[in-house]
Amino acid sequence: MKDLVGIKEISRQEIEEILNTARAFKEVLTRDIKKVPTLRGKTAINLFFEPSTRTRTSFELAEKRLSLDVLNFSVSTSSVVKGETLYDTLKTIESYNVDYIVIRHSASGAAKFVADNTPACVINAGDGTNEHPTQALLDAFSIVEVKGKLDGLKIAIVGDIIHSRVARSNLYLLSKFDTEITFVGPPTLLPSDVPSNVSISYDLKKGIKDADVVMLLRIQLERQKGAFIPSLKEYFHVWGLKGDAFSYLKKDAIVMHPGPMNRGVEISSEIADSPRSIILRQVTNGIATRMAVIYLLTRREV
């Protein structure tokens, strides 16, 4: 595999291979020296055309733990603001002989475009509303770590699904396993057509009470220009996961969030800081999972 552009294009076997490799990298992160020499002498560039702190930091740490040399290229400081096209930016970067390109872009399909036009390995760190594959992989890794498996689980994805590339990637990934998926949220934030293996619930309690895993999504304040919800306060009142959920959630249900979370919008502090929440575990697992993805990709020889 040269690139990781989306979960849609990869097989269950490839996903399992990544998760299995991530387990080995997670052990590396527990050592005193949290770094292995595996990719010494190779170079990675993080190309972020959209603001991101945690995904970029997570990738950067993963790269450094693999002994890669790391360059960060973000839009506010780049020549893109001077009018350079994505293609020319890519060709410039290629002249540095980089081996790995991690890209985040506001346009869906940007990662695929870059992957098709370079011999370097390309990892999609989020493209528009299309995919965010490493987030889905780290979510899957975290679920398997706690639940031991994906097959047979009921998973509820709650919130702003139509704008969420995290939800899309998770949907693709979970659909490759024997899972029952429920989208939960207000009609304005749920897609009008869903695959046959997905059910829809417009009621939070009904949607999540049988779930083994509750995945909350961030209300993307920057994508709410279309008045999808009346107010954040009302969203929290109706759709926010709050302490009363403890009374009806399954005893061993876990709560996840890709971050950054908005306390008092998607989630209350009572839930976020409870033992049910594996949000911080997701952050740690993000590094191990991204190390595994980088490790498993192989550059095309030219």
Partner: protein, 176 residues
């Protein structure tokens, strides 16, 4: 063409001898720990540990080490995809570490294992125990404990079957 070099009884006797050699050289079990290299070395280390227990009445610490992240040939041979998490559940500082592997060949795996160990701490000493030494070293590395030295040609292969994975104990030389 396949030729059996060692059978179950011979492997057992060799491991018994290596166990005694380890105990003799180190004057007992003090500060000794065993680290098996994935995959074959792990089972051999477990057997040696059991034999030490039978003789000395105690379990020495044992860990497992996957050297995939330390290999120097991933650009040539590609990346190994089935990686086992390394597990060294004790401090190796000041310990006498006995690395256990099934076959010693170019010495590059041993080099990788030693580099990995150095990232875990500063052992007092690293020793090497192997079931088979087939020659063709590319690095200045030799074993402290060798089960059997078998001169081979480079195009030959040594296959070690252990009952924990293959259901039988046998070492086979494969000639193409």
């Amino acid at each position: 063409m396949e030729k059996e070099l060692l059978n179950y009884e011979e492997i057992e006797r060799i491991l018994t001898r290596i166990t005694y050699e380890i105990l003799e050289k180190n004057k007992g079990t003090e500060d000794i720990c065993l680290i098996g290299i994935v995959t074959g070395g792990v089972y051999l280390a477990e057997r040696i540990r059991k034999k030490i227990k039978e003789n000395e009445g105690l379990n020495v610490p044992m860990g497992i080490l996957d050297i995939s992240f330390y290999r120097d040939d991933i650009n040539i041979k590609g990346k190994k995809k089935e990686i086992k998490p390394t597990n060294i559940p004790f401090q190796i500082d000041g310990k006498k570490v006995v690395l256990v592997d099934d076959v010693l060949y170019t010495g590059r795996s041993t080099r990788a294992a030693m580099d990995a160990l150095m990232d875990f701490g500063r052992p007092a000493e690293i020793q090497l125990a192997v079931l088979i030494d087939r020659g063709h070293r590319e690095l200045p590395i030799m074993a402290n404990y060798t089960g059997k030295y078998i001169p081979t040609a480079r195009n030959e292969k040594i296959k070690v079957y252990l009952k924990e994975i293959s259901g039988k104990d046998s070492v086979v030389l494969i000639t193409q």
